[in-house]
Amino acid sequence: MDKMARIKLMHTGVVGFDEILGGGLPSGSLYLIQGLAGSGKTTLACQIGFLHAKQGEKVVILTLIAESHVKMLNHFSNFSFFDESLVGERVMLFGGYASLAQEGLRGLLKLITGMLTTHKPGILIIDGFRSVRNSGPSDLDLAEFMHSLNSLVASMVCTTFLISPVEGNVNDSENTLVDGVIELSQRHQGMRPIREIKIYKVRGADHLLGKHVFKVKENGVVIFPRIEAISTRSNLAPAASTGHVSVGIPSWDQCIGGGVVRGSVTCLLGSPGVGKTLMGLHFIEQGLRDNERCLVVGFDESPPSLIAKAEKIGLELTSSIADENLEIMWYLPLELLIDEVASRMLDVIKQRGVTRLLIDGLDGFRNIAAHPERAVSFLIALMNELRVRGVTTFVTEQLPYFGSGFLNADSFSSALYDNIMLLEYGQADRARFRKISVMKLRENGYEMLDHQMHISDAGISVTRAGLELEGNSGNSAHDRLTDDKPD
């Protein structure tokens, strides 16, 4: 029997939490949820409690020196997981500090034993657990208490959460004699708060290591697992290609052997205003004509602007949005959590069966990531997830793209993109024009030429160029790649 299958997992019901836990929390175990004031630890525990109470489970919340019950209930009434009708019926709140103060750890343990016996809850939450240490027991007494508590909740099959306002994986009994230690924290990046959750340990669970960002929303704690961690754990490889798809511009399809590989990721790289977004819209419109479900994720132009832009070249998107064959997600590139965007994107892809995706303005997105050091690995993971799901993807990126501008950047661009198409301005006889060329194309032959690109009311078309053309070296990545040398 699979080892993991022997342990019954409790699904927490918290978005993203089961994913980082590897399925859920082993039932009947003792967990420490820690974090400084305002980190969201009580919210997380009680959210799990209420979600399970709604399913018929009994939940006991025992407070030591912590928020009063009335204040706690008032606080939770702001969340959609709260149901007042459950309080007193399936969610019971009790105070335990009196027993601790009067009779010490033995008294508290006796109280907990009595509650578990009387009410038989499936979940116990002890808030203000720091009071136990603060009551001044010896290290040995505290260790014995923790050991006894762990045995008690295991024998009563009561998944128990201890809430403590501390941080760090310290060598105290509260950390070492529990089955799991989960920490919530809040830090600032400049003026911007970033909430993070980290699992130090959960025995019996195939949990992800490292930190994951989360938000506290109207429905409670929502966790956005690090996509690199998810991708590394699943280690899924994209399936073999199953043919090519048209990019929506017949004259360009001809130049690139019929289109791009289905499920591949293509970068449309080019100067501002050269036509990257329009080309992306052609790609999407082709998908809609082929009865594919499509998604546009934008960080630059708003949905009305994209729709208007498409209409100007004869591409009608409004009816597809109404029919739900097309969804446009737009994010202001301000205080974004890239994991939240990726999570939402992959959710929509799954729910709607999306097979064509346009990500418009990826450079703006990368620039505002809360963890800039992750940008590369995040994008590699995201693109792999898209390939694994068989989503044919176009991404627009604005020059300059290659960071320092020399060839070494290809070491990760190869992992990111299967195809790279360069859109530039050219100049001939003092007239500027648009040109398009292929820098990289997977599983297809292509002509190593600059082709002329035209934009009219009928959309984009491409004329094969047989002439030697002068490049605008200020904007040409080709020129920079040829001329620039690494130091």
Partner: protein, 119 residues
């Protein structure tokens, strides 16, 4: 001097009310849950009992039933309090007054005084 037995598992409630009632010349005795309150009542007869509903081991409704069933304590005015009144079936409980938390202490004091005057 009047006396009051306050029964609540929340220490902040008992500590706060204890100080306030003492300032108003009450003798205050505390218990953290129903069973402890019954032990107290074996040796002490307060003029009024103020009890929370939801408590571990023995809740306020059970405590009230037992207090009102015993000849030695049946006469004591019994005030129940709760943050979630809808969750309690009070139909068979012979309480004298029910208060919903949170409430202002002065209102509580007025109601306790009125109850004591009535009895």
């Amino acid at each position: 001097m009047k006396s009051i037995l306050i029964v609540d598992d929340e220490v902040d409630i008992t500590d706060t009310f204890s100080m306030l009632f003492e300032l108003h010349d009450f003798k205050v005795v505390l218990a953290s849950q129903g069973r402890q309150a019954l032990e107290v009542l074996q040796d002490f007869t307060p003029d009024v009992i103020l009890s929370d509903c939801m408590m571990p081991l023995m809740d306020g409704l059970e405590l009230c039933t037992q207090v009102k069933s015993a000849p030695s304590t049946a006469h004591i005015p019994f005030i129940l309090m709760s943050a979630s009144p809808k969750q309690h079936d009070l139909s068979s409980v012979r309480y004298d007054l029910f208060l919903q938390k949170p409430f202002v202490f002065n209102d509580l004091l007025d109601k306790v005084t009125a109850l004591l005057n009535k009895h």
